[in-house]
């Protein structure tokens, strides 16, 4: 447990998933998540994991197979990226609406086109409203921990929802980091055997995926919405238990050096770790700057965000996705919306960075923090900015 093992994070994710003893894994390879299912197929082939690895012909089939397996009472896992997630899109809201606790790792990658295999968040943002629990990991250790947590959260009787765990393609999937792994006994104690609420079986008749007429559809959507909102309670319980057992804490919104901060950077995913360095540099120069890191994307942590920005004059939200012709990055527009009714609210600005794998060096966070401090005094300069674009 205390030993750190150096490993590529995608392989570590597969090792962590294997510790959760999934019954069915169905996946189709797509860069940059490929190493996750590839390594799981190795683990199954080596006999270390007793699971059915289904080599499907597409991502649509991958999630369909997981949907069917989960409906039959299996613990099911898949992984994908970018266009693969879009190819799954027809099934994505069906899995959540059927309350099937499938776990999916998304190695986040830009959507085409132009074709680009590198990281941004446009893939998951396209599936934002599909009713899944959605979380972001910022480093390898979080990927290991959150992979195990995801199954526990998904399968909780008060939740029964699929979870997607997002890790940045290449910046995380292909990077070797030292990580601590729980052992099999610890995972077994943390994550009990999956007991489905209902499973398709001739002796126990149930219909799943039924027709809902207009007279009942509103009520079905309300029920889905309430269960997703209510899942935050379980997520917090699971994270508390994880901290007690493994000593590493998880919060919906993580804070870094926010004491007395007037300028807050608000980041999501792995770039938050780079932003910490920028905050350190600016704090050394005497700037009152801090960093918020969003871990829980759905259900959206309204209260935690309102609490975290208290006292700040300006929040610069850093999105890795464009809402073309829209109000700004998707995280930005939700953060600003969450603060709209607050009496003392900070100015919120939208900076879109790191698209399609564009490097985001420490200096960019410094420049954005300095811009945020400036516009806090002079007023916003535009609806949103795609930061660092040549020619603008």
């Amino acid at each position: 447990m205390s030993e750190r093992i150096g490993m590529e994070i995608a392989l570590a994710a597969a090792e962590a998933v294997a510790l959760c003893r999934p019954d069915v894994i169905a996946a189709y390879p797509i860069t940059p998540n490929t190493h996750v299912p590839e390594h799981l197929s190795d683990i199954v082939a080596e006999g270390r994991l007793d699971a059915d690895f289904i080599c499907v012909e597409s991502e649509h089939s991958a999630l369909s197979a997981c949907c069917g397996a989960s409906g039959a009472g299996a613990r099911a896992f898949t992984a994908t990226s970018s266009q693969g997630l879009l190819y799954m899109a027809e099934i994505v809201p069906i899995v959540s609406s059927m309350r099937l606790p499938v776990v999916m790792i998304i190695g986040n990658r830009a959507l085409s086109g132009p074709i680009n295999i590198w990281n941004d968040h446009s893939d998951i943002m396209s599936q934002r409203d599909a009713g899944w629990i959605s979380m972001f990991a910022a480093n390898g250790q979080e990927v290991v921990d959150m992979s195990v947590q995801s199954f526990k959260i998904a399968e909780h009787r008060d939740v029964m929802l699929p979870v997607n765990l997002n890790l940045d393609g290449f910046q995380l999937t292909h990077v070797v980091e030292p990580m601590m792994f729980p052992n099999q006994e610890e995972v077994d104690a943390f994550l009990p055997e999956y007991k489905p609420y209902a499973a398709v079986h001739p002796d126990n008749i149930v219909s799943m995926g039924t027709l809902a007429l207009p007279e009942i559809f509103n009520e079905c959507m309300k029920a889905n919405d309430e269960v997703l909102k209510g899942s935050k309670k379980v997520i917090l319980e699971v994270w508390k238990e994880w901290e007690e057992k493994f000593g590493r804490s998880y919060k919906p919104v993580e804070s870094y050096r926010t004491e007395g901060a007037e300028v807050l950077l608000f980041a999501i995913g792995s770039m938050a770790e780079t932003a910490e360095v920028a905050v350190d540099q600016l704090r050394d120069k005497g700037m009152k700057v801090g960093l918020l890191k969003l871990r829980l994307w759905r259900p959206f942590p309204f209260e935690e965000i309102r609490e975290a920005v208290k006292g700040a004059k300006v929040v610069a939200v850093l999105d890795r996705a464009v809402s073309f012709g829209g109000p700004g990055g998707p995280v930005f527009s939700e953060v600003r919306s969450a603060l709209y009714d607050e009496k003392d609210r900070p100015m919120v600005i939208s900076e879109i960075i790191g698209l399609g794998g564009r490097d985001v060096p420490v200096g960019d966070f410094v420049k954005i923090a300095e811009k945020a401090a400036r516009v806090a005094k002079t007023g916003p300069e535009e609806e949103y900015e795609i930061f660092g674009v040549r020619g603008s």
């Binding site: 609406s97 059927m98 309350r99 099937l100 029964m160 609420y197 209902a198 008749i205 149930v206 219909s207 799943m208 039924t210 027709l211 809902a212 007429l213 009942i216 509103n218 009520e219 079905c220 309300k222 029920a223 309430e226 269960v227």
Partner: protein, 97 residues
């Protein structure tokens, strides 16, 4: 846990995942209410060939004790395929009032 509920009155009564634990409950929904036209059989022209029964996409046509065919109006959507296929012309589609 899997308590049987009839039609959910409010959202709290919707089963998780809209799962249905009562086999055959779809039968309680009478799709015949969608109908704009109904088939009317003229048994004097019927030759009991059963082509209406074969072509009915709803499977709602059955044979009575005398061998003539009748449509179950609880489920007949009034598509008119039976009348179109009936070559002796024993079925007429009539507007619903």
């Amino acid at each position: 846990m899997k308590k049987e509920k009839k039609w959910p009155e409010d959202w709290q009564e919707v089963n998780p995942g809209c799962m249905v634990f009562r086999p055959g409950s779809a039968r309680e929904y009478h799709t015949g209410s969608w109908r704009a036209q109904r088939p009317v059989y003229d048994n004097s022209r019927c030759i009991k060939c059963g082509v209406c029964y074969i072509f009915c996409p709803e499977g709602c046509i059955s044979q009575d004790a005398d061998g003539y065919f009748v449509a179950d109006l609880d489920y007949c959507k009034g598509c008119g395929i039976c009348a179109h296929e009936c070559w002796p012309g024993a079925i007429t589609m009539v507007e619903e009032g």
